[in-house]
């Protein structure tokens, strides 16, 4: 699926933001703390309703219903990863993958790719911050959805894993995917910069 997303969000935080992302493109959202990066990502995912303006999705065959686009084409990875602390890493990964449209085989592949096989039997509660983040990233890899909305995805990863994740993102883009990532440190891939601070008032 090749999507073209056209976005015009507008909130008390920022006004008149225009942003459009097309297949194969990555956007690095930057901005001071509280400038609205997380809010923008959640609005794109349809979890919060923008004060004004709207979000449109387009597929190769023209306009898509936002509901359909979101239920089949969007991965949101926020600060909270939705893992149940007392289930095993593999149980949780498998559920998230199947829920977002992947299969058991693709989950297995992603787990190998992110070096999770030896952690699969551990309870999520016992994973370290970086291990847990890798588990969350595995879902993105395992179930193909074209738009990735990432909120500070790399913070807890160590250097080696950041490089791996950079490769994964590059591969996603090469396959026609799109990425919008809120970051404070530069992304390890080429990305269009979008600074929210410029679109708003004084930083909080």
């Amino acid at each position: 699926m090749q999507n073209l997303a056209i976005i015009r969000g507008e909130r008390l935080l920022f006004q008149g933001l225009d942003l459009s992302v097309s297949a194969g493109e990555a956007v690095a959202l930057t901005g001071a703390n509280g400038s609205g990066k997380t809010s923008l990502l959640r609005a794109l995912a349809g979890l919060i309703r923008p004060h004004a303006g709207d979000v449109r999705f387009e597929g190769p065959q023209g306009k898509l219903e936002p509901e359909d686009a979101r239920s089949q084409g969007v991965h949101l990875l926020g600060h909270q990863d939705g893992f149940k602390a007392t289930r095993t890493a593999w149980e949780e990964l498998l559920f998230q993958v199947q829920w977002t449209g992947g299969t058991e085989a693709s989950a297995r592949q992603a787990s190998a790719r992110l070096d999770l096989d030896r952690l699969a039997g551990l309870e999520v509660r016992k994973l370290s911050a970086g291990q847990r983040r890798r588990l969350a990233l595995a879902r993105l890899v395992a179930s193909p959805r074209s738009l990735w909305l990432l909120d500070e995805p790399m913070a807890p990863l160590d250097t080696a894993r950041r490089a791996v994740f950079g490769d994964l993102m590059a591969q996603h883009l090469a396959g026609g995917g799109m990425i919008i990532a809120a970051v404070h440190d530069p992304l390890p891939i080429a990305a269009r910069a979008c600074d929210l601070s410029s679109a708003m008032g004084p930083s909080l």
Partner: protein, 221 residues
Amino acid sequence: MNGFWVMLRREMAMAWGRGGGPLLALTFFVATATLLPLAVGASPARLAAVAPGSAWLALALASLLSLERLFERDYEDGTLDLLALGPVPLEAVAFAKGLAQWLTNGAPLALAAPVVAVALGAELRLVPLIFLSALIGGLGLAFTGGIGAALSLGSKRGGVLIAVLVLPLFAPPVIFGAGAIEAFAGGLDWHPALGLLAAYGLAAAALGPFAMAAACRNALS
């Protein structure tokens, strides 16, 4: 519909999962029923009179306790975000949750209800009706309870708030369920009460998911 099954399977697995699952709900049920005679005194005549009703009360309270977690955990750990972006609408998710709640808590409790009632002194001939009414009633309790659980998302005192929101919704099934048993015990016609109970359960299962989904969306935004 694949998403629905994935969801249902997960909910069932989490409820039955290691650690006992319904066993704990049953134990709570038994324990509540144990406190009752301690509180109202052990005179058998007095107990027998309130036995089936109290079993129903314990049923409602036991359901209530297990309800609190229905959405709250998912809300706090971000699962609800994920569920909102899934292949099926939140209404189906809510339905799966209610159904799983009924199957993993309501059904075992329905099995235990007659046992508890008899232990408190109910007559043996009431057993089938107590089981049936508890089973049907459980459907209503699960789905109306889910509404309360969803509405209290993000509030400070979930537990008590759920109770306050849900107890009024629990009143009709308790009335109908206990009423059917009462009628049967008194030799009256118990079908209407049971019919109302079933109607309530089905209505709750049909409408509840919409309310739950709306409440979840509201909590997320």
